[in-house]
């Protein structure tokens, strides 16, 4: 089943311009240091850099050797060293130690530090404290948006999640505002803006301020993208914590898609080498299955294989001329398709193997039970067993968090016993992990008794809903509760299914979780777009603890064409999953929208948990 868009769906803007901009700026920066130089690249920047400028482009601009920034003394013998790094203090210390080592050896070289996407004052401070500020020159490579696909822009800032949602560090918000500003200068103003979450609100305000300061540039331009929706990750942790079952999500969970490409190991390629494969809309086979529920993928691929065979078979009984035509025109395409097909079949097999081994069905069943809120005891003991068996530290943690959020926190007894079990299995340093999870609201203890709820319900009987809401707000600020169950009921996240959910012909966005759950984030977006604002969603917003943090901003003048209004930029602050992307693509197809995704990084449950985990160095 391919993904035909409705004929009236708007065209996507061309985002390759962002790549060109980034490349040109990088080249300019490299040329600022004329002559041969060695380039030290931070590991996290390697893949994004590869998507912008390959080695031959770097060589053209006199980059001699490439090194990875790691905690080792540099072996470079070049007279000019250039560092391409994220603005992190540990990188500064590394550079400083390198410069100081050179100084001790009486060696003088030129050093240039290029910060991407921007430079932070704290970094310069560290250079200064280490006494090398005068020896290095600093520059910024404002490369903040990497188009991973035709509809997916990533800032490739996985640390955004931990920095903001755990440490409360707001430094990336400015970067985000700059990125939004860049988009609005390139692709016209965004007439309608919606958002929810504290970070979303701050980013939005900062961005608007930037727009005001550079007034007039975008004025009068016709908007290309009619609506923008900003959403904080902490509004919906549940969706991000679920196991993914659409193909692209599953590939990400299993093999880890990094910067839009994946390393298929020997077990997939059925050779002895691993292969790096770019996964995007240009891969025709992948494009057709990426949003499919996994149960359909195999049958689709085998159908495809048969078609392919049939096309190959046509060459029998061809005369010479036809054969020549076939070889020159079709064969290459067929071969390419063949190669991709065998890769994806290999990937599917590999996924099947892994997933059956770990009793994937059981896991999914437990997850669904948690989402729907029944058999809690059973699920809890399943999790306990999971921990006892040391199946996977990350998986166990994920299930615990899922339990906590769906149940408004663990009951004190479970909270203690699960943590004890976990520490016994995986080591005491996870005491810090639990402290982190608690701070982020991912794994909490239920407030003693559900007294709050009791008081609340009594109060709400006495006074009007609005007042009750205010009182509840006051309470929830004391103990921020996820209220998942109530939200789920309000927004109808658990579809009532009569009979089997037909995953081949999805009815709603729930198909991305086998028909068991409509992703909360996507449902919110759907509802807000439908209502053109937050009217009627007050209760939901309150339950999300976002009473002051949901906003709408509509421009009065209606220059936006109806076509642009159906082009929607969704900004995920703190990362989004492929399941959410698939769900929104589905929604777009149903309603004639096209969604564009901007995320600080593509994430999944494992990445979220790792970000919160404390690991021994």
């Amino acid at each position: 089943m391919a993904f035909p868009h409705r004929p009236d769906a708007p065209e996507l803007p061309d985002f390759s311009m962002l790549k060109r901009l980034a490349r040109d700026q990088l080249i300019y920066l490299l040329e600022q240091l004329p002559g041969k130089k060695d380039l030290f690249i931070e590991a996290d920047l390697m893949s994004p850099l590869d998507r912008i400028a390959n080695v031959s482009i770097l060589k053209q601009h006199e980059v001699d050797k490439l090194y990875k920034v790691e905690n080792k003394p540099a072996l470079s013998s070049s007279e000019q060293l250039c560092f391409l790094v994220r603005p992190r203090i540990k990188n500064m210390r590394y550079i400083a130690s390198l410069v100081n080592a050179d100084k001790m050896a009486g060696r003088t070289r030129k050093y240039k530090v290029i910060f991407s996407p921007q430079k932070f004052y704290a970094c310069e401070m560290v250079l200064e404290e280490e006494g090398v500020y005068g020896d290095v020159s600093c520059d910024e490579w404002a490369f903040s948006l990497l188009p991973l696909d035709v509809d997916l822009l990533s800032m490739e800032l996985p640390e955004f999640f931990r920095d903001y949602f755990l440490e409360g560090d707001q430094r990336w918000i400015n970067t985000l505002a700059q990125a939004l500003h860049l988009l609005s200068t390139l692709y016209g103003p965004f007439p309608n803006c919606y958002g929810i979450g504290r970070c979303a609100k701050m980013s939005y305000e900062l961005w608007k301020r930037l727009e005001e300061e550079e007034d007039g540039e975008t004025k009068g331009r016709r908007p290309e993208i009619g609506q923008i929706f900003l959403l904080d990750r902490d509004v919906d942790f549940v969706t991000a914590l679920c196991s993914q079952v659409v193909y692209e999500g599953l590939v990400d969970d299993t093999f880890r898609i990094k910067c839009g490409s994946v390393d298929f190991g020997p077990e997939v390629t059925s050779s002895d080498k691993s292969l790096k494969v770019l996964l995007n809309a240009e891969d025709k086979v992948f494009n057709e299955i990426r949003n499919e529920h996994f149960s359909n993928v195999f049958s689709f691929l085998s159908q495809k294989a048969r078609n392919l065979q049939a096309q190959y078979d046509r060459r029998r009984g061809m005369d010479i001329k036809q054969m020549k035509n076939f070889v020159s025109q079709e064969l290459k395409g067929l071969k390419q398709e063949h190669r991709l097909l065998s890769l994806h079949i290999g990937a599917c097999e590999s996924i099947m193997k892994k997933k059956t081994k770990q009793d994937f069905q059981e896991l999914i069943k437990t997850e669904h039970a948690l989402l729907e809120g029944f058999n809690i005891r059973e699920s809890t003991s399943y999790i306990e067993e999971h921990i006892d068996r040391q199946v996977s530290p990350i998986e166990s943690l994920r299930l615990m968090c899922l339990l906590s959020i769906t149940e408004n926190g663990l009951i004190p007894k479970d909270y203690r016993s699960l943590k004890t079990q976990y520490l016994q299995s995986y080591g005491p340093e996870h005491l810090l992990t639990f402290s982190n999870l608690r701070r982020a609201g991912l794994l909490t203890e239920q407030a003693p008794g559900d007294t709050l709820t009791a008081v609340e319900s009594k109060v709400s009987k006495l006074v009007t809903d609005k007042a009750a809401g205010k009182i509840t707000d006051a309470f929830s600020s004391l103990a921020k509760r996820s209220n998942f169950r109530a939200i789920s009921k309000k927004l109808n996240l658990i579809p009532r299914v009569d009979g089997e959910y037909d995953l081949k012909v999805p009815r709603d966005m729930a198909y991305v979780f086998s028909g068991a759950y409509v992703p909360l984030s996507c449902r919110i977006i759907e509802q807000v777009l439908e209502r053109r604002g937050w009217q009627g969603l007050d209760e939901v917003v309150r339950l999300l603890n976002c009473s002051e943090l949901a906003f709408t901003d509509m421009t009065k003048d209606d220059k936006a064409s109806s076509e642009s209004l159906r082009l929607i930029l969704v900004v995920f602050l703190g990362g989004c999953t492929f399941s959410e992307i698939s769900a929104l693509r589905f929604l777009g197809r149903e309603k004639g929208y096209r969604f564009i995704f901007l995320t600080t990084a593509v994430t999944n449950s494992a990445r979220l948990m790792e970000a919160m985990s404390e690991v021994k160095a």
Binding site: I89, Y121, Q170, E205, D388, R389, Q390, Y426, L431, E614
Partner: protein, 889 residues
């Protein structure tokens, strides 16, 4: 055709005679706005007075500094006063002291210009067409980048030298690479001050040329006597000095000195008395002691003309007078009471001067200042000449005539008009009238010419209206600024050269804000360039009014400025602070909408806490960090932490920094806040990240546990204590058994013990740490299977009833591919999981039986899905039958 001096000043207001001493040097900017300042060479302190071009006094101040060698105006309309010690004092138009800089003590004999008799100080004129505007305040840098500053100096050692002999030569180098901005005068706006000075060393007969700051050269020329006159010329964007010594001319640059001879110079010259370079630096005129004037190109390659005036007395001044793009060239020579215009004609034009006068060359003419008048001598523009020449039949003249007749309602109007139209010259006629109107100074005449143009336009189908409209607007602006109250008598060409922006700047400099705003509004200039910029200047002036209270000033400014785009309140506040009005500055900052802009000034004013909250408001973390570091240095540690405590955003930012850079500070921060939970976490982290020795680690854990107790987090405290116990135990195990135990989790420790056959110890440990049964079973099961110790496993399985059932046994055996062992356990699996177990060991048939027995639909489907190929065909059939049966029932 030459127009006699045109009196421009309505009401001459210069002071009485006798006060115009030799030290008067005058400068007109292209604005023609000509302040006049003088010093009394009396025994008392001299007085510096500044007047507007119409003679209105602007400022008067007592000169308290050292002897002044020369005075001059910069293009920014700043007054430069050069003292004999090489220090240059810079004053504003209103006599306000701006700054000073030094040209350095060159070390020539006699110091700087002692005994100065006369000199000129000429500063860049914003004239050459190449000029480009390079700063907002209207400073012009000529395209040739030639700026010359000429200082006259008469050595006290040679009192007999002729008064006009300058021995100090200053010229600005045009070589761009040498033209670096000097460190004490930042920005392009001060380019005018980059000068080179060439002291004449009499003892060594050496000419020194010294760059003010960055470059210097000294050229030795074999001169036997001091030069009689000199000037700066420009060739190929490089400044040279042309120097006359006796009958010889020398051209100096920074590297060499060469003798030059002007072509076609009449013989018999024994000395040059005066030389003049034209406004555009293209032409040069030489006046010799024989009364002969040579005029040619400045490159000295071509002669244009010559003239013999037969006056041997050295002229007081000689300047060029020409109009851009005009073929006529003329030099104006002034003696005490005589003015002579000479050009390429056998006759000269002479005027008598009633008073002491001073000539200032300009773009399109020469200004003549005397005590009571301010006149302008210029070549009559072509358009005016065509129209006003006696009996002129030029189209413009006819049109003007036609219009006059028309007003008299005479039919002659028609005749004239026909005459022009027959020749098809009506468009030219209109154009001529418009152009001529521009060059007229009297509104009545302007009006009648414009009326004629408008009249002519009526008979033209397609005459583009903009030239007419623009001229009307320009004249309106010009007439407004020419008013003697304003006193900027610009000519039309000068105005066009200057541009409206510069004119506005000059109005602002004169604090004529209302007029400037009216002009902006009249010309409909964009707000940012026009009105708001002027308002900002006004506000900056307003804050200096010390007699008005802070509240009133702030309110007045806000009322006028409102939210005008392009106005930066923080700039104005900075100015207020510069005047020492901190409170006012803070009040003004409150109007600044961008909180980020407020921060630097607040820091400067030592309002760091306010700055912190503003920085946080701006959302710019870098700004917050800047303020934080400021605060850290400014406050003591306790206060600093207290400040942080109230600003969570700043606190988390600082914590992040400390985590990487200052761990100890981080600890102090937690301590200060009594944040025992975080403190505990801090020590836990230290226990494995910072400490190496086991004792240190245990100690760190102990501290952590204490902290957790304080935080009332008993769970964490207990867990930490358990970990301390485990750590000690692991250490003991390592000592006793060898191998690695440290840093393993409890689970892994037990597993390792079992794997190394230490079952007893393992069980002891499990008891000690209260490992639950379920975990222990899983753990043992996995470990024994890993060891493939099937015997022990069986023994274990029978030790008591498994708390985890027996399916895991089956699974784990199959994982090790031991079907035999697996089957043993499959039989013991409880009924709910039996089917699964049987399927795992591959006994499909029995699984089917069980499933049918259970009458469980799900189990049957599960078995069915495991039926593959022919071997299980029978089984599959069996299930199908059972299903059908079940459905029947």
């Amino acid at each position: 055709m030459w127009c006699g001096p045109l009196e421009l000043v309505h009401r001459p207001a210069w002071p009485g005679p006798g006060q115009l001493g030799q030290k008067v040097s005058s400068q007109t900017t292209a604005l023609l706005r000509n302040p006049w300042r003088k010093e009394k060479p009396a025994s008392a302190r001299p007085v510096l007075e500044i007047y507007s071009a119409s003679g209105v006094p602007l400022a008067s101040l007592l000169w308290k500094s050292g002897p002044v060698v020369s005075l001059g105006w910069s293009a920014e309309e700043e007054l430069l006063c050069v003292q004999e010690d090489g220090v240059v004092l810079v004053y504003g138009l209103h006599g306000d002291f701006r700054r000073h800089f030094s040209m350095g003590n060159v070390g020539g004999p006699g110091g700087w210009g002692k005994g100065m008799e006369s000199g000129t100080l000429s500063l860049p004129q914003p004239t050459t067409p190449l000029s480009r505007r390079c700063s907002r305040t209207g400073f012009w840098m000529p395209g040739s980048s030639i700026l010359s500053l000429v200082l006259g100096w008469l050595s006290s050692q040679e009192p007999t030298a002729s008064p006009s002999v300058p021995t100090w030569v200053t010229s600005n180098s045009a070589g761009c690479q040498r033209c670096q901005v000097s460190p004490d005068t930042p920005g392009a706006a001060f380019t005018a001050h980059r000068c080179a000075f060439c002291p004449w060393d009499h003892q060594r007969q050496k000419l020194w040329a010294l760059g003010s700051l960055r470059w210097s050269f000294s050229t030795t020329i074999g001169l036997q006597s001091a030069p009689s006159c000199w000037t700066t010329v420009c060739q190929d964007r490089v400044a040279h000095i042309l120097l006359a010594v006796g009958p010889d001319l020398y051209l100096l640059d920074h590297a060499a000195c060469s003798a030059v001879t002007p072509p076609g110079l009449a013989p018999g010259v024994s000395s040059f008395l005066q030389m003049a370079v034209s406004f555009t630096y293209r032409h040069l005129a030489l006046f010799t002691d024989t009364g002969y004037i040579w005029m040619g190109t400045a490159s000295l390659k071509e002669k244009l003309c010559e003239f013999n005036c037969n006056i041997r007395a050295p002229p007081k001044q000689m300047v060029w007078c020409s109009r851009p793009r005009s073929k006529e060239r003329a030099v104006v020579v002034a003696w005490e009471r005589r003015l002579m215009v000479v050009g390429d004609a056998p006759e000269s034009i002479q005027f008598v001067l009633d008073e002491d006068s001073y000539l200032v060359p300009e773009l399109d003419g020469v200004r003549i200042f005397s005590r009571s008048t301010h006149e302008f001598l210029h070549e009559v523009p072509v358009a005016s000449e065509e129209i006003f020449k006696i009996a002129s039949m030029a189209p413009g003249a006819l049109l003007l005539e036609a219009q006059k007749e028309y007003e008299k309602e005479s039919q002659k109007a028609d005749e004239y008009l026909r005459e022009i139209q027959e020749l098809g010259q009506l468009p030219q006629a209109v154009q001529q009238c418009i152009e001529a109107a521009g060059h007229e100074h009297w509104p009545d005449m302007q009006k009648s010419l414009l009326r004629a143009a408008s009249f002519g336009k009526c008979f033209l189908d397609r005459f583009p209206p903009d030239s007419f409209v623009r001229m009307c607007q320009d004249l309106r602006v010009l007439n407004a600024v020419r008013d003697y109250h304003i006193g900027i008598p610009l000519t039309y060409s000068q105005y066009k050269q200057l541009t409206i922006q510069v004119l506005l700047d000059r109005l602002v400099l004169r604090r004529l804000y209302p007029l400037a705003i009216q002009i902006c509004e009249y010309l409909r200039l964009p707000e940012v360039q026009g009105v708001s910029r002027i308002l900002a200047h006004w506000a900056c002036y307003k804050v200096q009014q010390k007699d008005v209270s802070d509240e009133d000033v702030a309110r007045a400014i806000n009322q006028k400025l409102g939210d005008t785009p392009g106005v930066s309140y923080s700039d104005i506040a900075a100015r207020a602070y510069g005047c020492g009005r901190t409170e006012l500055a803070i009040k003004l900052l409150e109007y600044e909408p961008r909180s980020g802009e407020q921060v630097p000034l607040l820091l400067k004013m030592k309002r760091s806490k306010l700055a912190l909250s503003k920085a946080i408001e701006s959302g710019d973390t870098d700004l917050v960090f800047t303020v934080l570091l400021h605060l850290k240095n400014e406050l003591n540690r306790g206060d600093f932490f207290m400040t942080l405590r109230n600003q969570p955003m700043a606190l988390s930012l600082y914590r992040q920094f400390c985590k990487h850079q200052e761990l100890e500070t981080l600890k102090d921060l937690y301590n200060q806040d009594d944040n025992h939970q975080e403190l505990g976490s801090f020590h836990i982290r230290a226990s494995y990240a910072a400490e190496e020795r086991i004792e240190g680690r245990v100690a760190a854990l102990q501290t952590a546990a204490d902290a957790f107790y304080k935080a009332k987090n008993e769970f964490a405290a207990k867990a930490t204590e358990d970990q301390m116990r485990l750590l000690r135990l692991q250490r003991r195990l390592e000592d006793e058994l060898g191998g690695r135990f440290l840093d393993l989790s409890l689970h892994d420790t037990v597993t390792t013990l079992i794997l190394s056959g230490q079952n007893k110890r393992a069980e002891q440990l499990a008891r000690d740490f209260r490992i639950p049964d379920k975990r222990l079973w899983w753990l043992k099961l996995t470990a024994l299977a890993d060891l493939e110790d099937w015997e022990e496993l069986e023994k274990f399985s029978k030790s008591k009833k498994s708390p985890i059932g027996y399916l895991p046994f089956v699974e784990i055996c199959m994982k090790q591919h031991n079907k035999y062992e697996a089957k043993k356990y499959a039989s013991r699996v409880g009924p709910e999981q039996k089917v699964k177990a049987l399927l795992l060991v591959g006994d499909v048939a029995q699984a089917a039986d069980v499933a049918i027995e259970h009458r469980n639909e799900a189990e049957m489907s599960l078995v069915l899905s495991h039926c593959t190929g022919a071997t299980d065909g029978a089984t599959a059939d069996k299930i199908q039958r059972a299903r059908a049966q079940a459905q029947k029932k």
